[in-house]
Symmetry: C2
Subunit: 131 residues, 2 copies
């Protein structure tokens, strides 16, 4: 259970569907560091951290590098904390450009899915004795 709105890595892994190793790796490369540690050194994640992990998990199938993800998370953070309005608007533009790339890749992924489904059917047909 979460105490104080902070989760240990195992609980986070289950919630989000990432392995412990992956979550730790995301800290190693400064992508999603836990916002805290317990006295004994256990990683502690907030709901916002978990949300960041979810963003990464959902963007990964689009083939973005972890470095690309950095930008996205940074831009989202900028927009959210919105101190300087100029910085916020720059972040929004960055986000918009990224979203365009994401849309393209969604298209690519749709194509790949269609191809994969087609070849799966072919395999079934051949397996069934088809020509």
């Amino acid at each position: 259970m979460a105490i104080d709105g902070r989760y240990q890595i195992g609980e986070v892994a289950e919630q989000v569907g990432l392995s412990l190793r992956t979550i730790r790796h995301y800290e190693e490369v400064d992508l999603v560091p836990p916002s805290g540690r317990s006295a004994g050194g256990f990683r502690l994640y907030t709901d916002a951290d978990v949300e960041r992990l979810r963003v990464v998990k959902h963007l990964k199938p689009l083939g973005f590098s972890l470095e690309d993800m950095q930008e996205v998370l940074a831009a989202l953070e900028e927009v959210r904390t919105a101190g300087d309005p100029a910085a916020a608007s720059a972040a929004r533009r960055a986000l918009e450009r990224f979203a365009e790339r994401a849309e393209e890749r969604c298209g690519d992924l749709r194509t790949k899915l269609a191809n994969a489904e087609a070849i799966t059917r072919t395999m079934q047909r051949v397996a069934a004795g088809g020509r």
Copy 2:
């Protein structure tokens, strides 16, 4: 242009949409070796080879290892050349099992696509000043 129904690696790469390096790598691991070489050592691919490359390319988004692909190509080959009927039917069963795994993964991929599309829309919304 292809002479004699055999293509050089560059032409194959363009037709199939794989890099030269990838195609060479598939030979290194004995996944799709070219069925011939020119006098000077250039790889020469037949239409059947190109077809194998396409199979691999289309299955890749499902996350299968190149080793898994070996099985598929081998099974397809078995079914096609069909010498021994017992071997052919074993190959068909192998293909069927593989197709089941492929279907599962198509489902996973559909989920991932849906997630990716959702988060892309979220990014657009946030970029547009949404909350």
